[in-house]
Each structure stands twice: as C-alpha cells, then as structure tokens.
Symmetry: C2
Subunit: 217 residues, 2 copies
C-alpha cells in the first residue's frame, strides 16, 4: 500500500499521534471515524489528515470515513511496530533507569536486549528484569543480539566515546538523551534527540515573555 | 536591547542550543567567536545565526564576531534564567523521580518548590532533598510559593484532572510528559510537551524505512 516517494519529517512526526488517537478510539470500541471528526479530536484540519494519510497509501472513502481497526493496523505496519528492532540502553543512572522502567518499548517497535554502564556501583544491579552489564560486555552482546539501536542516557561528555563504540558494533540508529550531536559527527546515522534541557528552557522563555508582555499592556 | 515583534517558534527553539554552545565556549576560555565559526560548530549557516540573533537585539560587529560572555549573558536574560519561576512536579513515579534528580532546574530558569503524588506508597518519601507531599496539600502549597509552572509526570488518564487542579491555583504554564493535550483543552496556557513515545516511534519508523530502502536497491 505504501508509496515510494520521500515523505516530509513533519508528516512522519505526526504518525505516532495518529497511532495514539486510533488506539484510544479502538479502546472506546469505535469502528469508523470521519476525517472531520478525527481532525477535531486531534486539533488538525480534515484536509491535513487526508493529505497526511495519502502519503502512505489509500485509506478511507469519501463520505464514509476511516475504518479504525484497519487504519490502526496500517499505521502500526508503517511505523514498524510489528518488527521490533533490538536495542541497548547505555548509562543506567536516573534517566536510564526511568526510561527502562517507564517506556513500553515493545509497543513502540523496540526490544531491549541489554542495559550497560561503566560504574561498578551500577553494574550487576537488576533494573526491571535485567541485570546491568559492564561496558566491556557491550561489543559481544551487540553482536550476539544483532543490536540495531543505541539509547544514550550517559553524561554529555561520554557521548562521543559511547557513540564510537556502538558504531563499531554496527549500530547506526540512536535515541539520544545527551547533547552530543551524533548526526553531525557521524554521517549515515539515524538519530532522534530528546533534549529535555532545551524543552525546559523554551518553556522558561515563553513564560517570561508572557510576563513581560503583560507588564507592557 | 530586545525588540518587540513576534519571534517564530523555530527561532525560539534554537535559543537553548545557542545557550549551550556559548556555555561550552565559556568553559573552554574562549572570549570571542565569529559567526562563521559558531555556525560551523552548531551545524548552521553564518547568515542563519545573524538572522536568529537579530530577532533579539544587536549583537556582535561585522568582521569582529561576538563576545562570548556578553552573548551568553544576553541569551540567559532572554531565556529568563536569571529569574527562576516556581514549579511543582506532579507524579513521582519513575519519570517524576528521574526528572527531579536529573535536571539542573535552577540553570534552566525553574525552581522546584514541591513534589506531589496521590499514592500512599510514595507520599512521605524523600526524593533528592524533598519530601513527596499528598495531592491534598497541592493547592495550599501552590498559593504559598506562588507556583507558576506545573510539571506533569502522571499517567495519561490523570492528565485532565491534575491540569484542572493546577489551573485552579493559577498555574498556566506546563511541562507535560503525558499525552493529554493541555493547550487544546485549556486556552491561554503555555505548554511544552515531551512526547517520549512519539520520539521513539519516529525512530522506529525511520529505521524500518531505511531497512526497506536497502532491500529495494
């Protein structure tokens, strides 16, 4: 069903939202939804939804709407959720622990095969149902499980070295919680950055701006 | 120094990156940097940097570059980091705990005045150097500290109710880790969403797409 042309990142970034909203509709027992109803739920326009979904194939019928189950399954396929990719988490401090316990990886297309840290205090600890391994075991473990994704929760300064180690084992895809710019330093990588600091500073800026604007009116 | 016109969100979202890069330059003892050098460090163009900074005032001189200290201080002011805003974290599960221990709030323009949860197992626990309080204490505490920011780490289904409680105490600014769409449901709020699930699914999509592309070549 999928088309072969390049799809813009802004459309791609909306896909997980479609997936979430369709999941909720399924849970509510809805079987069919019009593009205008889905649009109003998601705060988009009906024409934007039709355009977005059109990038991936032909869904729904004019005047009939979308079959919830079918569209959910198709988007799940497009997102690759049915074929989870093996991943490791590096850095099992506060954030690494939270991520490994908090995320529903398997329903996001990822299966965690190992947790790694270089601190003797953390190595051997059980987090979730996994024992934290030492960095010396990383290469062997990545080869064994054919790991494709590295999740980086290490301190910023460890970013370059850990990235190099992972790339050496064949990992090219990164979920990056550090400030290290992997994509800039390593061509041919796929990187999603989670910059919590930047998000929080943007919030501070917007709050302060609104306070200043109020003072000026 | 700041100008009064509307600044686009894409420029605003780049500000924290400038702030981080200038911080690193300061740490390295650099006093001056040209826009082309800063551009190459940040993976931008020199003209984009000049345009971005121009939104906020006049920095640097043609042919001379920017004074690192001065630009850092100005951006810090623009971001509101000098005037931290009081905030509470609601939901002290894995993510709430990680956020409260991991983030350097005070250098991001935020000061945490309280941690709240509704689970008897968590209430009373010490996280960082703070005792987790019950949701019954929320209103009083928000009034006492004139809390302006709510950080939501609760399960998705608790999003609507917790948001309402915070808005009732006067909070209008949210750092939101839930999928609940606060801005859509409450006008006149300032919201930064951290959608970890969406970020991870986008990564899965991009990895699967690159595997399919390779199979097809």
């Amino acid at each position: 069903m999928s088309k072969d042309r390049e799809i813009s990142m802004s459309v791609i970034r909306r896909l997980p939202r479609y997936y979430r909203f369709l999941y909720n509709l399924k849970q509510e027992g809805k079987t069919r939804i019009s593009s205008s109803k889905l649009a109003s739920l998601m705060g988009l326009t009906a024409s934007q939804i039709r355009q977005d979904l059109n990038c991936f194939g032909e869904f729904g019928q004019q005047g009939y709407g979308y079959m919830v189950d079918q569209l959910y399954d198709e988007i799940s396929k497009i997102l690759g959720i049915e074929n989870p990719s093996p991943a490791v988490i590096i850095g099992i401090g506060n954030m690494g622990k939270a991520i490994s316990k908090y995320m529903d990886f398997e329903n996001r297309g990822i299966v965690i095969t190992g947790l790694f840290d270089d601190s003797p205090e953390v190595i051997g600890e059980t987090v979730g149902n996994m024992k934290v391994k030492s960095m010396e075991e990383l290469e062997h473990s990545c080869n064994q499980y054919q790991v494709e994704v590295g999740i980086l929760c290490v301190p910023n300064e460890a970013g370059p070295e850990v990235t190099k180690q992972l790339i050496k084992t064949g990992v090219k895809t990164f979920w990056n919680f550090t400030h290290y710019d992997i994509a800039y330093n390593h061509e041919d990588t796929i990187v999603e950055n989670v910059h919590l600091d930047d998000s929080l500073m943007t919030l501070s800026y917007r709050l302060n701006k609104s306070k200043k604007d109020k003072q000026n009116t």
